[in-house]
């Protein structure tokens, strides 16, 4: 069976990243980039987004070589979205030092007609109004997953609440789950979010892994303990990409598929942080994925 196609909408960016031990400027990033590269290991992906004229043609060529459809990627006059951030010694924490929306400021997602029949959709972290717009352009979405962030929880809650009613799976980090739900306990937060719409909630906990909640299942996967984390940027979007790619490949949203998908997401996330941007995924092959997957089995079995 062919894997279903995933439409992802989200940011493509240049990141200037400083960690306690390294620094990079103009690394290609953005949620949609990380997501698409990760998901492309398992399923066809189609991007909806915008970049400026400064976005590297080599990266576009790399996306295409990975089978990522770029028909919905607008190339606008101006500069690509830029994010500058600095990680703390504890790399679960970071400060945003600068944010330049550039072409992203006026971004209106446009779905090419070839995208409209996609059954699977990932609404990465952008304005919920835009997430809703993409969703309404899909003719028969079967699996809608989304991410969001504190900014939208604070500043666009009505639209976000509207969106959640139409989302099957929310992938969100722990602090944002607490903020969205108004609860400070992971179980209570997940239950509260499920009551808002999503049947499945996956709460990301950075270096501690991720936990899935649904009405009748709780599943925790640890992050892989790494000796050297070069750059955590994009780990959460890579996790979501691996997860959604796996679900698209399986064509089913069973608890078993979600659990395996979370492990594949964790596999890819554990690799992407070993280098800047998604460089670590460039030479990755199925054997490399399988090897790390077996390490996750060894890490967790008792």
């Amino acid at each position: 069976m062919n894997a279903s196609r995933i439409v992802v909408v989200g940011s493509l960016a240049f990141d200037n990243v400083e960690t306690p031990r390294a620094k990079v400027d103009l690394a290609v990033g953005g949620a949609a980039s990380y997501f698409a590269v990760a998901a492309s290991f398992f399923a066809p992906v189609a991007i909806v987004g915008v970049v400026g004229r400064d976005f590297p043609p080599a990266t576009l060529a790399f996306f295409r070589a990975r089978g990522i459809d770029l028909e919905g990627l607008q190339i606008a006059d101006g500069q690509t979205f830029r994010w500058t951030g600095r990680y703390h010694e504890n790399m679960n924490l970071r400060d945003t030092l600068d944010l330049q929306l550039n072409v992203f400021a006026d971004f209106i997602p446009q779905l090419p007609s070839s995208y409209r029949q996609a059954e699977i959709c990932f609404l990465a972290n952008i304005d919920p109004a835009l997430q809703l717009r993409v969703l309404s352009d899909l003719q028969q979405p079967r699996l809608v997953a989304a991410d969001t962030m504190n900014y939208w929880i604070e500043n666009a809650q009505p639209k976000l609440i509207e969106l959640l009613k139409r989302v099957e799976l929310l992938v969100i980090n722990d602090q944002e789950a607490y903020q969205l739900s108004g609860r400070d306990n992971i179980v209570k937060a997940a239950r509260a979010i499920i009551a808002m719409g999503p049947r499945h909630v996956i709460i990301k906990r950075g270096e501690y892994g991720a936990v899935h909640f649904s009405a009748d299942s709780v599943f925790a996967v640890p992050a892989y303990p790494l000796e050297e984390v070069v750059d955590p940027t994009g780990a959460g979007d890579t996790f979501a990409g691996g997860l959604m790619g796996w679900l698209a490949k399986q064509g089913t949203l069973t608890v078993a598929a979600i659990r395996q998908g979370m492990v594949y997401g964790s596999v890819l996330a554990s690799m992407v942080v070993e280098d800047f941007s998604f460089n670590r995924l460039r030479e990755l092959d199925q054997e490399g994925i399988d090897r790390r997957y077996r390490q996750f089995v060894a890490l967790t079995q008792f």
Copy 2:
């Protein structure tokens, strides 16, 4: 095969505990109490410690009813050790508000002759000089495990380093592992500690679970996601008790036994925090343990 006997040395205390949602005074606590009660589900335990004349006879009777040997428990003139602490909203964090050593101030552990042939020993968090003293009184220790804390890392490092050379398994929390090793990464910290002596290091991460490291194995067990944590006090000592009890019952220190032991430790720890003191363990039976163990299997399998 009968389970080997475990000698534990450590504190017995009265705890005054305040959490964001509850408060208790004079709850029976202390590392040796929690450890012994937890371990007693799997193996015979013998306590080395001291209490004052104010320690409740009913608690001593409860210990005895659980088969815990109290011959090495001194009952001294004066008051039992008291700890007063307050947990933050994030219950991984707490402040010590008051500490009264009382009879613990002059405590010199004395091993009854009936304890000296014990093969398994847990040196809970006390002065490394006293941990060494207990160790030297054992005639043929086969498995020596220990815990410690920031105070001894800062103020008794030479003795602690001496102790580590004679310890097979160190159970320590993440912040203390970073402090002891001088490394800020969990893998590097574990490797550095293994280089100090212990073949096995288990790093406790509170609500995120625990990770075991040895030369050829890494194993992560999540904590059970609980809707209501009443009081996290003693969770780490309960975890160690369940782990060591299971290892004593198996009579072997294989990686498989350590992994299962960590799950049993997590099972008991996930229960002990559901009430103050070790009250939740008072009515617990094997069926209750097995039920939560199956929940851990369901929580982690993919």
